[in-house]
Subunit: 399 residues, 2 copies
DNA sequence: CAATTTAATTTGCTTTCCGAATTTAAATGC
DNA sequence: GCATTTAAATTCGGAAAGCAAATTAAATTG
């Protein structure tokens, strides 16, 4: 029996397949997974009994074919609840999802700027999750898993925060702390990885197993999906795209080193140059807009600042492509203000800088999303764990 | 039964473990693999019957312990033969290995410079393999697998050569051609990957599952091992470390682009600057020596050339670390003449350029090896496939 | 030489999952 | 309206993998 060796067993494989496809008949499940029809019947019967999946009664569109009609299966939304939490500098954003991935509620609470003690932050998160659950008239105890995204260097496997701008302590076993505080299994990850997760589950990376997500906000982040899994490096602190070097002895980065990509393309990098070129301005975002406007209007200094940022970004991106050879790159961002980095010229320049082979260069897509995407990614991350648990446990005791 | 689903089955897991450990008693196999002792007994009995492994009669050193003595198992060298082939610009290098990985013979034949037709090159390789087999009084048909390493962009999975400096045609289904020509399954890969393979199997990467190998010869290459497997990118043409960009609008590379790492550290890059600084020289390697000597002696121009190459190399290396966060980097090279790139200052500079976290920076080791290491990597690559086949087939008909 | 210790094997059983045969639920033909 | 066809789903018997517990084997110790 394949029981002792706890590798991916067929229950999980089928559950994942159903989840990914949304709705799918048994015969297609057998086809896609290579599991025999007989076994698919047995296992899906189990999953149905356990309340993890449901049959969809009629497939209206598919009339007219002879033979016994296929019966689509889907994930039973009601089986579980998961929450996704994103902690940013100024607030905590949350979403509540059912087992199907449908959003049930969202919630935001302000968070005092600066660093917090781990205990305090765990408390804020716990309270926010409780408030989130209350929105659909339930409570924290009914949630099967919570995903939490945090900026900083995080060891997702161990659930530890090595360092984060939101915490005033280093090397905190934060996942365990949250799990204990809420009484719900909590999974921690770096926020860039969560965007990758969101793209994989709901976004443009759906169905793709190898792609890279680049995010720009205050800094430049990257999430890498290899073989359908988040790649984290050995110590869980790889993918520091923003601190790859694009210039020897280059511009000063806030990490203290020189020549980091971030030191050319991040907001603060443009601001300091804008101040030099256009004179200081009290409004930060206003100043960026002024700079872009001046560049547009033909101001040579402003244009050179913006164009250099774009070319540096293209160079950094090309390096990623040369190393990973991904099939898809998703440029994801919350704000429109980084449009100049996502411009066609920049992408074209990147294409010119990669190693030329016969195969087509990687697809590059731009995906703008709102604030809650981070939290949705966190929820998707938790959902994977909950699916795995649900598949492993024979029966689920939904209250 | 786990038969229909052909995932890694226990036979292969145990065979691999024995192979990796060299010699290991059953009880440790059970311990390490998580397979029960009962099953280990059953499976190893099978493997013994099939002649794939052997018991080692006495373990002399381990006397003095109570209880029934452990009986070490090892791979049966005689079970299979594999060959490794490396095609370089001027010759074909080959090694013959037994199933244990012990070298049985080596062979080298000159190869006319320049490009060859696929048919011709397949012929040369086939003849060379036959000559290799003849060295131990056997023939090609007795070899169970051949690994072949080639420079160029190669799709290892498909066995296709997109482009290679050794071939005068593009997109050749070269593995199939060799398999047919020799009547032995042949596995193709990029030569940088083979060095990684050699390091993993025999070298400093032994027992490591995540590391990176950087090679310098004419160009700069990289092999990436993630999770014990060679990472190849989506289209099998990633890891182009030599063409990552280290300078915007930088030095001209032979690939036609500007600012590639290679354009600062490769032999030809140093040569063209050396010619400018010291005047031309007819002897290529002599000129490099002259340059290094002058730098050593305090010539400021020469020193600046060499030091810039070193700093550029450090920067490229730091980028790799920032992206992958490997536990180990192996700087592998055939020749001593790149010592200046492997100098302590260069490594120190790299360390300063990576993102600082609490965890220790990756270990960096330098490994110099001879010409046959490539071929040994190719053989190790073929060996993996032969092991897999042997584990899958119930019985092996050794002639 | 009996007791002890540890490794390896044997035995009986459980679990998983397949192939083949069968049943089911429709559409179609007459 | 009823037999026929078609395709999906299910049932049934069996085979393989692999475990736990009991047993056997080979050594040391007192």
């Amino acid at each position: 029996m394949a029981f002792g060796h706890q590798r991916e067993d067929s229950r999980l494989i089928l559950l994942r397949e159903i989840s990914q496809e949304g709705r799918i008949p048994r015969i297609d499940l057998a086809e896609r997974t290579g599991i025999s029809r007989a076994t698919v019947t047995t296992i899906t019967a189990d999953l149905l009994r356990d309340g993890l999946i449901e049959e969809i009664p009629r497939e209206d569109g598919a009339a007219g074919t002879r033979g016994r009609p296929r019966v689509d299966l889907k994930i039973a939304g009601a089986a579980h609840l998961v929450a996704g939490v994103k902690v940013s500098g100024s607030r905590i954003s949350l979403v509540l999802m059912d087992f199907e991935g449908s959003q049930m509620a969202e919630h935001e609470v302000p968070l005092g700027a600066g660093r917090h003690s781990p205990e305090a932050l765990a408390g804020y998160i716990g309270d926010a999750v409780a408030a989130l659950a209350a929105k659909i008239g339930t409570e924290t105890a009914q949630i099967s898993g919570v995903g939490v995204g945090l900026a900083g260097t995080i060891d997702a496997g161990a659930g530890a925060v090595h360092w984060s701008p939101s915490l005033n302590a280093r090397n905190v076993d934060f996942a365990a702390m949250l799990t204990e505080r809420m009484g719900v299994p909590t999974y921690l990850d770096n926020d860039a990885n969560l965007v990758a997760m969101a793209e994989k589950t709901f976004g443009l990376g759906r169905g793709r197993s190898d792609f890279i997500v680049v995010t720009i906000e205050a800094g430049v982040g990257m999430g890498i999906i290899l073989g359908g899994e988040i790649y984290r490096g050995t110590r869980g602190c790889g993918a520091e795209f923003g601190h790859t070097k694009v210039q020897l002895e280059g511009a000063l980065c806030r990490c203290g080193q020189r020549g980091c990509l971030e030191a050319y393309v991040a907001e603060y990098a443009l601001l300091r140059e804008a101040d030099t070129a256009l004179g200081p301005d009290t409004s930060l975002s206003g100043q960026i807009a002024r700079l872009l406007g001046a560049a547009e209007a033909g101001d040579p200094t402003a244009a050179s600042i913006v164009s250099r940022a774009g070319r540096m970004f293209a160079m950094g991106l090309a390096n990623i492509v040369n190393i990973f050879d991904p099939e898809l790159i998703i440029l994801a961002g919350e704000q429109m203000q980084f449009d100049y980095l996502y411009a066609d010229e920049v992408i074209a320049e990147m294409r010119k800088s990669i190693v030329q082979v016969d195969a087509a260069p990687p697809e590059v897509v731009i995906h703008k999303w709102g604030n809650l995407m981070w939290a949705r990614g966190a929820a998707a991350y938790a959902l994977e764990f909950v699916q795995e648990r649900a598949a492993r446990e024979g029966r689920v005791d939904a209250a």
